[in-house]
Amino acid sequence: MGAVAEPAIKVEDLWWKYEGRKDWALKGVNLTIERGEFVGIVGPNESGKTTLVMAMNGLIPNNYRGVMKGRVVSVGMDTREHTTAEIARRVGFVFSDPESQFLTMTVEEELAFGLENMGLPVEEIRDRIRWAMEITRLDEEFLEKPPYELSGGQKQRVAIAAVLAMKPDVIILDEPTSMLDPIGKSEVFDVLVQLRRSYNATIIVVEHRLEDIAYLADKMILLYYGEVLRVAPPREFFDNIPFLLKHYVYPPEIMIAVHRLREEGLYDGPIPLRFEEGVKIIEEVLRA
């Protein structure tokens, strides 16, 4: 019998309470994320999404004070037994604010920083920078520029490239588009699409833009005030629209429209994940 592949992330009965807080931010979370999966995490504000992903890369409990129960094993490393820096070599993390994650004064230094920490040979660093820039569609002329002089979308692409260059097994993106304008958001989603196609890693995205994440994800997770309420493939996840709305998760308008058609008995198929899919369903209903 072949060996069973170890999951990318395993969260076992995780409880976390920040120091000085009365309430638990995470309440008995159990999760298994398999290797190569693209996972979307959604939930209302203050539901513990950022806390959960920070627990996955070791920032919690290593960099924050609080009470932790249960355990998190990220790519085989128990987050309580390894430092964040050790875990970071295999679990990359992109923060929501692109400005806050820049550590150096030029894009090139930014991309090289993690690779230098890994002690890679110069040639390999050069190749990886080129590769990461290609995937994130960053122009070579950016290399000499200070990252904080770029546009919002470009900044976040630099942040993603800096993590991607380290070729981690898992990439976590915590609301990567929350601080960007519509153009910046679509630039970042283009990169996510590209990552999905060409980079075989586990990708975990905390995101509010459900219309963009729905068709990319293999699995969606609904976190609601510290508890995981639903884990399902997108088709199944969005099938119960009233349940999502009840928990302050607002699916794209096209999904709600098709759901109404279902309620009216005009349509009995699955909820569409893409806008075009939804339009086609509505057209068919109108024709019928």
Partner: protein
């Protein structure tokens, strides 16, 4: 055609420098060496005419490096202020010793040629030194400074801390502007207030600045850890210096450093073993002194 005639620039500590500036062809450490070595020249030279030669040389270097001379306009006021401060301090408060040549009197204050000549000497020396600093800031980037430190084999922690300091300055400026805009949006504009009120209200800037700085510290610490960085280094991993590997200290660099050191050596010799660059041998001071009817200077 789009982009035609557009000059590509590279950000420096003080502004922008064209990408085709010849200074970029030298190793980044040369800029730091320039600052450290050439800034000693005015300290070694007393005779004003030699400092004028240095000033002229600096202008030539500015032009040769394609630094936009317009940048110097911003410093005109500062240079004038420095001139007046030095002139007043030396001329009126320079003291008096027997043997000084009195060239005037303002109330009880005696104006001596010796004090005036020192004012000229000190000012030109300072002018030269300030030009050296402006030049350095105009051609160097934070990266050059950090690479220079790394090239000197200083511990990575030291160079990184300096880099982080540069980064923090940038972030603090952004934070300051954000806070100021937020205060203005709520009808607080310190510009309109008298100085005493400005000082009192300054707390309104300081408190959020400190709070933001603390938050930034947290963010930077998280970002560092999330990119696999530890100040102590990770077990079994020697940090690669990718950026430094991109530069090679070549013949041109050796010539540049050699020339700077040679000039310094000559100046040291002239200053400590001869009188050629002293005020006593200054032709310019002799000339001005002659015009004022006091003979030699200093």
């Amino acid at each position: 055609m789009a982009g035609q005639g557009v000059r590509r620039m590279r950000r420096t500590l003080l502004g922008y420098l064209p990408v085709d500036s010849p200074i970029h062809s030298l190793h980044p450490i040369i800029k730091t060496f320039f600052l450290l070595i050439v800034s000693t020249y005015p300290l070694l030279i007393d005779a004003p005419e030699w400092n004028i030669v240095g000033i002229v040389a600096m202008f030539i270097i500015f032009i040769a490096s394609r630094v936009q001379l317009g940048i110097l306009k911003f410093y005109t006021t500062i240079m004038l202020n420095i001139f007046w401060i030095i002139f007043i301090a030396y001329t009126f408060f320079g003291g008096y010793a027997p043997g000084y040549h009195i060239i005037g009197r303002v109330g009880p204050v005696l104006i001596s040629w010796e004090n005036v000549s020192w004012a000229i000497t000190v000012y030109l020396r300072m002018f030269f030194a300030i030009l050296v600093i402006i030049y350095f800031l105009s051609v160097a980037r934070e990266r050059d400074v950090i690479l220079g430190l790394r090239w000197l084999r200083l511990p990575y922690v030291v160079s990184y801390m300096i880099g982080l300091a540069f980064r923090s300055i940038g972030l603090s400026i952004i934070d300051f502007h954000t806070i100021r805009e937020a205060e203005r949006a709520r009808a607080l504009d310190l510009k309109e207030l008298p100085l005493t009120h400005k000082i009192k209200k300054f707390g309104l800037y300081i408190v959020p600045m400190v709070a933001l700085a603390l938050r930034r510290t947290d963010e930077v610490s998280n970002a560092l850890d999330s990119r696999g960085f530890k100040f102590t280094g990770l077990k079994g991993h020697k940090r690669t210096d990718y950026l430094l590997s991109k530069y090679r200290f070549g013949g041109k660099d050796a010539v540049a450093v050699g020339a700077m050191l040679a000039i310094m050596a000559v100046l040291v010799y002239l200053r400590y073993f001869t009188l050629y660059i002293t005020t006593q041998h200054s032709l310019l001071l002799k000339y001005i002194g002659g015009l004022l009817g006091v003979g030699s200077g200093g």
